[in-house]
Symmetry: C2
């Protein structure tokens, strides 16, 4: 309904910053739209004009944060849009390296608070859940699909395996341990997951 051409870029950024800061400082449940507006030096209406809920605000803020980090990491060069999983020819080593990096990332408190809050809200709010999965989760999972397909061509993964299911053998356990704190996660743990998934539980 509003006119995007006249939208204030400054307010938009200020709202992102305020939302991320508040969620990190006082937690998602105690973060309010009124609080975000006050912190951003913005009228409430400006938030209600462009977003439907505080979850929407946080989701966009987090996506924006990701894009910024991506651009910063990329430097000046204009490279292809998405990172990829390394392919040294050794599938187990590549997967272990990526999962170790993921462990580090998940431990970064800057990412932890908002992504945990969004995951939680996505479980209960179906619409938000769809966007969360589509915009944040699936693109990452697709990288594993690609790497596993390459491994299939190299004969390191059986050809009849469905990569979209296979990746869940190591990604989902890590996600669950992180989200639900069912057990601690470490490099040793993710390494073990890769070994179990590649070579199976049964005797060979």
């Amino acid at each position: 309904m509003p006119e995007p051409k006249r939208r204030s870029e400054k307010s938009r950024k200020a709202i992102y910053d305020a939302a991320l800061a508040l969620v990190a400082e006082i937690g998602y449940p105690r973060t309010t739209i009124e609080g975000i507006a006050a912190r951003a030096g913005v009228g409430k209406q400006t938030i209600y004009r462009w977003w439907n809920s505080k979850a929407d605000v946080l989701l966009e803020a987090f996506l924006d944060l990701g894009e910024q980090a991506e651009q910063a990491a990329r430097g000046e060069g204009a490279e292809p849009r998405q990172y990829a999983i390394p392919d040294t020819g050794d599938l187990a080593a590549d997967l272990k390296a990526v999962l170790r990096a993921t462990v580090d990332e998940l431990r970064d408190p800057k990412f932890e608070a908002p992504s945990r809050a969004l995951a939680a809200e996505g479980l209960v709010d179906a619409e938000l859940g769809r966007v969360f999965v589509a915009k944040l989760l699936e693109p990452s999972l697709q990288l594993y699909v690609d790497r596993l397909r390459a491994a299939q061509k190299a004969g390191q993964v059986r050809p009849e395996i469905d990569p979209r299911i296979a990746l869940e053998l190591f990604v989902s356990p890590l996600a669950q341990r992180w989200l639900q704190h069912t057990a601690p996660f470490s490099y040793a743990y993710t390494d073990t997951l890769v070994d179990y998934a590649l070579y199976g539980l049964a005797p060979r």
Copy 2:
């Protein structure tokens, strides 16, 4: 602080019923303590006297529901406290059967709304999360640990495998698909998970 001896059993049950009904009917976020009290025909203070939050109420209500279902299923006989995973000697078949039953259970709308709400709240509320994992999740996972250990004795699982990690290869993917709707789940899917986990992704 209050005196449990004088506690009204009738009110307690009425509050459980009201909480479960409201969560199923209007969803967790729109369920309020005032609403539960009104529906149960109970004063608000009676809820605040015995519980700290609506999540606490729902958690106890859900646990109570589980105990009722367990007793009903058990019938008159006084059997050991917990169900177990069948052991026909065929590990793959046993796991597939249990996971198929789990799929059915997760699809039951009576369980879906409250358990999903509790899982979501547990992601953000650390204290509730601990109780949720300890009281609801871990006891179920322990059954898999037991079954996998039996399989190790029978030589169907390599002896150096850690069962607590191994079970995550098929349980976590199912949990994630259910919670986050990342992809549909079916009998074919859970069967595939068991096959991948037992025999691995790499050529044998």
